[in-house]
Structures are given as C-alpha cells and as structure tokens.
Amino acid sequence: MAVLKVSLSPQAYRGKKWVDWCPGCGNFGILVAESQAFAELGLDPRRVVVVSGIGCSSRMPDFLNVEGVHTLHGRAIPYAMGIKLADPSLEVVVNGGDGDLLGIGVGHFVSAGRYNVDMTIILHNNGVYGLTKGQASPTLPRNVKTKALPKPNIKDALNPIVLALASGYTFVARSYAYDTRHLKEMIKAAIRHRGLALVDVLQPCPTYNDINTKEWYEKRIRKLEDEKWDPVVKDPKEADEKKFRAMEKASEWGDRIYIGIFYQNEHVPTYEERMLSRISNYLELPPAKQAIEVDGYSLTVIDKILEKRRVI
C-alpha cells in the first residue's frame, strides 16, 4: 500500500452528492466501511483512486471525496491496472458488482490473478443485476427464483472466493455489508496487503433479491476468526495446502457461511516488483513520474537504437 500521511475523519472521504441507492441497500454499508477504512489508514484523498465499473455499486466514486474513475461495464480492473502500473504510488481500489466483475468482466477478474498488481478489489455481491431490474447474476445459485425473475435461475453460481484463489489472488476475504465493523477491517487488511486483494462483500438487495435477505444472511454468517482460522502463508511451501483448505472452507454455502480472511500470501512478488527485473528504477521513476520534454524538446534519445539499424 501507499504511504500514510493524513488524519481526516471518515466524513472527509464522503462526497457531497445525495446517495441515490435504494433505501436499505447493502452498498450503504460498503460506503461507510470504505470511507472509515480510508480514514483509519490515513490515506491522502488525492492519492486514493476508486475505480468502478457499471451498475448500482459502481456509482460509488460519485459518493466519495477521493479520486474517482467510473469506467465501463466489466472493465474496472484494466483501468485500475493501467493507473497503478503507470503510477505505483497511488492507492487503487476497485469497486464493482458481481455482474460487472464476474459476468461481463470475468476475463479480467481471472487474468488479474496472474499479474498480482498491488491493488484491492471490493466485490459488491448481491446475486442480481440491480440497475437493470433484477436479472440473475453469476453468483445466484441454480433453482433460486428472486422476485424479478420470471422463472427460477437455470444457471449455476460461481464462487468468487474459489475463483480468486484458483486465479492466483494473494489475499482473499469475505465480509458482509451490514457488519461495517468487520467489513472495514477486511478492507483495511486488503489495502495493507502487498499484492492483489479481493474482498467479496455479501450484500442484500432489498429491492430485487428477496431470497438472500438480511435475515437470511444473519442466520448463517460465522466468523473465521472465531474458529482460529489462520489464513497467512508463512512459508511458500504451505501455500498450496492453505489455498486448498481455503477453497473448501469458502465453498460452504448452507447453514454456515464464513466471513473473514480466507487466505493471504505475501511471498508472491507483485507485478511492480517483477518489473524491477526489467527496469531497475521502475519504482523510483515509474512512467507517470518521468519528465519527457523541456519546452517541447524531447528528452528521449534514440541514437543507440537507431545505430543498431544502421546500414551506413
């Protein structure tokens, strides 16, 4: 994560705009927890970039007083990576829905695991496409009929935690939108993590998901920390075993649904660290920090490259 430097109240990270989510929407909990996490980490609002896709949850940047980049449906991750790799000193946090990140954007979600760019993805997971009026999302289980569906869902659900682990994410956690204290801690840990972090946030949609409601979740949610779950890979040799156990634990989706950090492995080099083997001063002088001209005169000299192409 980037450098700590300011001391501001959570309110200072909130935007001025009226928040136009449905009353009772889980996004409110995420907004509160996210701004609290930024405040407690002391992040400079000008150094935090919240990147989102399209959907209800992706309106998040408008409600925050930090750098906000509201992008295309499914493409928040590539935008975020472009920003982070051009200027690694920025703290980059992606917010997107389950339709956005796991439907239209699933290719980027999976590929991101191979790169391990040091950034955080907060998945607003409510099982439905809210902004288009409640169609089934990739996390809605088969045979479930939420209220806007004309017929029960005919497709299987994917498990974001298992998918992230299989893809190579080095920090994988789950939380619950209405437990803002827990969620805030998860977001803080994710931002602090060196590498790509996912926080899968279970989130009721009071308007379109009448199955996975607040009551439904609160009956089932259990905390990993209460079971003395140790997510941290201390020795690279135990990485696979911890990963498989995390997958197993995260797959429980019945009477018990676990929240907390499932897996964390900081032994995998970040993409930024891997770049050092190519460009030794990449972190001191990343692309965005380079001067390229003075008064219009280019500072880049291509003589040596041209020399190799010389015939005379």
């Binding site: 000008r46 990449y282 380079q290 880049t300 041209l306 005379i312």
Partner: protein, 633 residues
C-alpha cells in the same frame, strides 16, 4: 539515368526468406542504394509460400514493381508462382527441374490450376522446366544452381550436419544476386553480422555465400555511391515504435495480433531508454512499461487508465482488436483522455486475410464507437511519415484531450525502406506538445471546466481530487443528467474538433506531390508510394499527373482539397479497398467526387507498375470509371 532494379526472393515460410531479404537489402544499401521492400506471406508459420519483393534505386524509392529483374528461388513453388513476373534472370535449383505443379502441395489449388492452364494453353507441360522454358522464351536468362553441392561442401568444411547447413539456401541465392548486381561480397558479410548473433550461423552463411558468389559474372555493374551521413533500415512497425519512444510514450499495452504486435515487442525489447537529464545534461535510464494484456478490451482500457496519470500511453492493434476496443475509445472520448491507438489495417472483414493488406477500415476508424465525440484520425504513407506521425498522434491526443487513431496499413508495417537518418532527426526541434497538461496541485479542481476552445486544464490523478465517468457529467466529473449541463458539456467536447480544425494548418493534413496538372491522383496511406513513383515514371513518358495524399481524415482538410481539385479534368481516387472509403469522406467533407477510381482489395500491395498501367488505361478509356487491380501472387 535513375537505376531501378527489382529483386524477388521466395520460398516456404520458415525457410528464412524474410531474413535473407533483409540481409540482402542491408548489403545492397551499404553500397549507397535506397531500397523499398515488402514481405508477402500466408497466415501460417511453416510451409506456405512467402516472398519478398524489393526495388533498388540510386534515388529514394517508395514502391514495388511487378517487373522483377532478378527472381531468386530455391524451391519449386516460387518458380511456379512468379516466373511470369521475371524479366531478366531466374536463379533456381536445377534438381527441381522435373517437379510438377501437382506435386507442390503447399500451393492453393485455385492458383495451381490457373498456372497449369497458362502453361498448357501455351503448349508447355507442367514441370518446373516447362515454366522455366516459358520464361526463357520471353527473354529471361536462367541460372541453374547446384544448391545441394554447395551445402554438402560447407557442411564438410565446417563439420556440421547438412540438415543445419540446408538453411543457407536463401543466402546462396542472395549471394548470386549480389554478384549479378556487381556489389561487393564484403557488404553481405557485414549484413550477416547484423542479423545473426550466433557465430556458427554467420560462418556457415558466409561460407555458403562465398562459394556461390563466384558462380556468375556481374551484369548490372552497380557503381558504389558515396553517401553523406548515416542510413537506417526501417520497417513500419519499427518506425512507429521509434516515433512513440522519441515522442515520450511511457506505457504501451497490446494483445498479440498480426501485423501490429511487432511494434509492441520492439518497444519491449527497448523498454529501457536513454533520457537526457535536463539539469546535468547527462544520459540516464528510464523505463517504458509494455504490457501484454489478456485481450484488446484490457489493452485499450489499461492504456486509458494509464493516461489518467499524465503518462503518454498508447496501444497498437489491427481490425479485430480495434473492433473490441470500440467501447473503450468511446469512454476516452467522453472523458477527454489522450490515448493513441495505432491501427494496422489488414485484410478484413472478420479474421479476413490476417497477413495481407487492405485499407478497408477507414470509415470504421472515423466513426468508431457509439455516439458523437471527437475522434482524430491520421494516416501515414511511408516509413518516415510513420515515425513522425507517431509523435504527432501523441501530441494531438494531449492537445485536444481525445483519442487519436493513427492508421498504418499492413503494406507499411511489413515493408522496409532505407532511410537517411537525418530524416528522423529531432534534435533541436520542439516535437512535443502536451497541451494544457499541468503538474501542480489544484484545489476545487474542475476536470471538465468549460472553456472557449472546449479544452480544459488537465492535471494527472494524484494532484487534485477529480472524477471521471462515462456517464454524462458536470465540470467536476460528477454524474448528472441535467439538461442544460448536457447541452453545454456535449458542445464542449465537440468544440475541440472545431478547435483542432482551426489550429491545424490544412497544409499539414495533406501532401501534394508533383507539378500542377489537370489530372490528380488522390490517395492515402501506403498507395501514396506507388502513386508518386508512377508519377515520376509517367512524367518521363510525357504524362503529367499530380498526387494528393490525404493525411488527416478527421478533421478533414476540406478547404484545401476543394481548392486543389477545383477545375481538374480528372480526379482519380486510388486506394486499397472496394468501396472507395477515402473518396466517400472527400465527397462528404469537401463536396468533391472523383471522376475515376483505381481500387484493389486482393490483399496484395498496389505497385507502381499497376498505377502506371491504370492511369494510361484511364487516359485511353475515359469512360471506364472504375479500374480494379489484381496483381500479386
């Protein structure tokens, strides 16, 4: 008298045709000659026919010819494919004389049938010898070579297996060609060292060349031409890459696609660049981030994300990738992000002919993505232009804060020229324009501030709190659907195109070649090369034409086009597509319609021989409004 000699080498893909053509060209260039050469190949890695056609000249040359002075071959297919183009010499493997067309399995059946018919209808059989005899009856001299013997001698001498030395066939043909031209073998030796890092390969090719060089006597006797300064050998991909590097590009994203990927891999190969420290004036190292992404959606959107940090960012692609990038380009337009997309047009639609060329995507580029926003579109016509245009594209993007599409076609990407290094010299020139970019912290920053020219002061992420959104937004970038704001913000974005139209001199947006004439060829992209070379050759035959090359399609140089074409007897549109797309834009923007069209869409480059023929054909058949070219194997 100007020298123009055309040389062609062909062979199966994977047999080193491309490398040997580059080595040969490099050697010839060392004697002081200019070269323009182009590679034609199948969408295949090994086995299909590929060939390299190049013209050697004492003056700058920008095109190919269908009349091949020396045809260098070492397989049967090249003879069948090209013997009709040979004019002076065919170098061939004499052990292949008995091979029949029907035995050449790599040849496409439609093509084999056509050649068989040509031979039999002229009273010949269908073997290599028959094709050679036919060529011979048309005045071509034959040079049989015992490749096998040379190879086994080299193998014995260097104690190498013949299977390894087999790969010198192309260099044997090249060395013989060089001798015919009367150019020193030493130049070939020097060129070998440029292309082969492995000493064994250098040695083996050197020995094979030495053994074949003396098999013939010099014929063309090209004298050495003294040259002032340095010359470089550049293909289109490399020219664009160098322009981007010189122009301050620091992030390049891409997904592998023909014929664009070589640009990105070249930048990656040179990712650590020399940068002048403005204070100490010493050279320091700085890095360019080249990212091969999971798809073109990621490529364009990563580049746009990077551009938000103030870095110069670009991507390079071809048609299928550009189709995927459409939505991202719209986001960049809506959010006024400077991003450059280098667009290498190839045979389309769909996967089309991936390794063949075409100029079929102009209207797509000009209209890419839904909705109305400024898209600046420029097109390069030769390798030197490709270098400078890559810099220009980066400047336009930052000055007007909008996506810029730089069109290059496959014919430029995979061809090379010998260029005077002075033509690429930017020392002492103000080549970088960053527009209204500021590196300073700003309070209450309005990223989309309304201004008279539509362009807002821009600061990178990290310097002020700002918001971006693909939804309609206010001056702060916060989403709003309020109607008055919609009118003003919409107008602000589009006003930038009017600003660009006002600021960029129309003379910079097109080039005029030749003296005033009542016949004008209007063209764009790589066909400009054959057009201007044909123009010179036609002039020596007493036919005067003028060539007008359009270099920017949005904003279009409408006033100048109208002025230049007013009162012309003939306006001949020349482009490599079916629907005359540049002519459509000319009519739309300048209200001028061509009197004639010369079009080609078989995926092969337009040659100067074809242009000359087409102009003469139109002059003697003025009622024929549309001439279709079909040259090239």
């Amino acid at each position: 008298m100007t020298v123009k000699i055309t040389w062609m080498i062909g062979g199966a893909q994977g047999s080193g045709v491309d490398t040997s053509a580059s080595i040969f060209g490099n050697a010839v260039a060392r004697a002081g000659y200019y070269i323009y050469g182009n590679r034609e190949y199948h969408s295949n890695i090994k086995g299909r026919h590929s060939y390299f056609n190049l013209t050697i000249s004492d003056v700058k040359v920008h095109s190919l010819s269908d009349e091949v002075n020396i045809l260098a071959t070492f397989d049967a297919e090249t003879i069948f494919q090209h013997f009709m183009e040979a004019k002076d010499y065919i170098i061939y493997d004499k052990t292949l004389e008995g091979t029949k067309i029907s035995a050449v399995q790599s040849m496409e059946p439609e093509r084999a049938e056509k050649i068989e018919k040509l031979l039999t209808s002229n009273g010949y059989g269908t073997t290599v010898k028959d094709a050679l005899n036919y060529a011979s009856s048309r005045g071509v001299k034959l040079i049989p070579v015992d490749y096998g013997k040379i190879i086994s001698e080299v193998a014995a001498e260097l104690k190498l297996p013949t299977s390894v030395v087999e790969r010198t066939r192309n260099l044997i043909a090249s060395a013989i060609s060089l001798r015919l031209l009367g150019i020193k073998l030493d130049y070939l030796r020097a060129a070998l060292r440029v292309f082969f890092k492995n000493e064994l390969y250098v040695r083996m090719n050197e020995r094979a060349s030495e053994k074949s060089y003396d098999l013939v006597q010099p014929v063309y006797n090209l004298p050495e031409i003294p040259v002032n300064g340095h010359r470089v050998q550049l293909d289109g991909n490399t020219a664009v890459a160098l322009g981007k590097i010189a122009g301050g590009l620091r992030v390049q994203t891409y997904y592998p696609i023909t014929p664009a990927a070589d640009e990105s891999t070249f930048i990656e190969d040179n990712e650590v660049v020399d940068v002048l420290d403005p204070e100490t004036k010493e050279l320091k190292k700085a890095g360019i981030l080249v990212f091969q992404s999971e798809d073109e959606l990621a490529a364009v959107n990563m580049a746009i994300g990077a551009a938000l940090t103030g870095v110069r960012a670009a991507t390079a692609t071809s048609g299928p990738g550009f189709s995927l990038m459409a939505e991202g380009i719209g986001w960049a337009g809506m959010n006024e992000v400077p991003v450059v997309i280098t667009y290498y047009m190839r045979g389309a639609p769909s996967t089309g002919m991936p390794t063949r060329g075409q100029q079929g995507d102009l209207l797509f580029a000009v209209n890419v993505s839904h909705g109305e926003f400024p898209r600046i579109v420029i097109a390069s016509g030769d390798h030197v232009e490709a270098f400078w245009d890559a810099i220009w594209a980066l400047n336009l993007a930052e000055r007007y804060q909008t996506p810029v599409i730089h069109l290059v076609d496959k014919f430029l990407a995979n061809s090379y020229s010998i260029i005077d290094e002075s033509e690429l010299d930017y020392k002492g020139k103000r080549i970088i324009d960053r527009g209204k970019l500021m590196y300073k912290e700003v309070e209450d920053y309005k990223r989309f501030q309304f201004t008279d020219d539509g362009i807002s002061p821009r600061v990178p992420l990290g310097y002020a709190i700002m918001h971006y959104s693909g939804d309609e937004h206010n001056e702060y970038g916060i989403i709003t659907e309020e109607s008055e704001n919609r009118i003003r913000m919409y107008e602000k974005r589009l006003k930038k195109l009017e600003t660009a139209d006002r600021e960029i001199p129309e003379e910079q947006r097109l080039k005029v070649y030749g003296k005033d004439s009542d016949i004008a060829i209007v063209t764009w992209g790589s066909p400009k090369g054959p057009a201007i070379d044909a123009m010179d050759e036609l002039a020596s035959e007493g036919i005067n034409v003028q060539v007008i090359q359009v270099r920017m399609f949005n904003p279009y140089p409408r006033n100048l086009v109208r002025k230049l074409l007013e009162g012309k007897k003939m306006v001949i549109d020349l482009e490599a597509n079916y629907t005359a797309q540049a002519a459509q834009l000319m009519k739309l923007n300048a209200g001028v319609e061509p009197t004639h069209y010369v079009l080609k869409w078989n995926g092969r480059p337009i040659t100067r021989t074809e242009v000359k023929w087409a102009i003469k054909h139109i002059l003697s058949n003025p009622n024929e409004r549309r001439v279709v070219l079909n040259g090239g194997a």
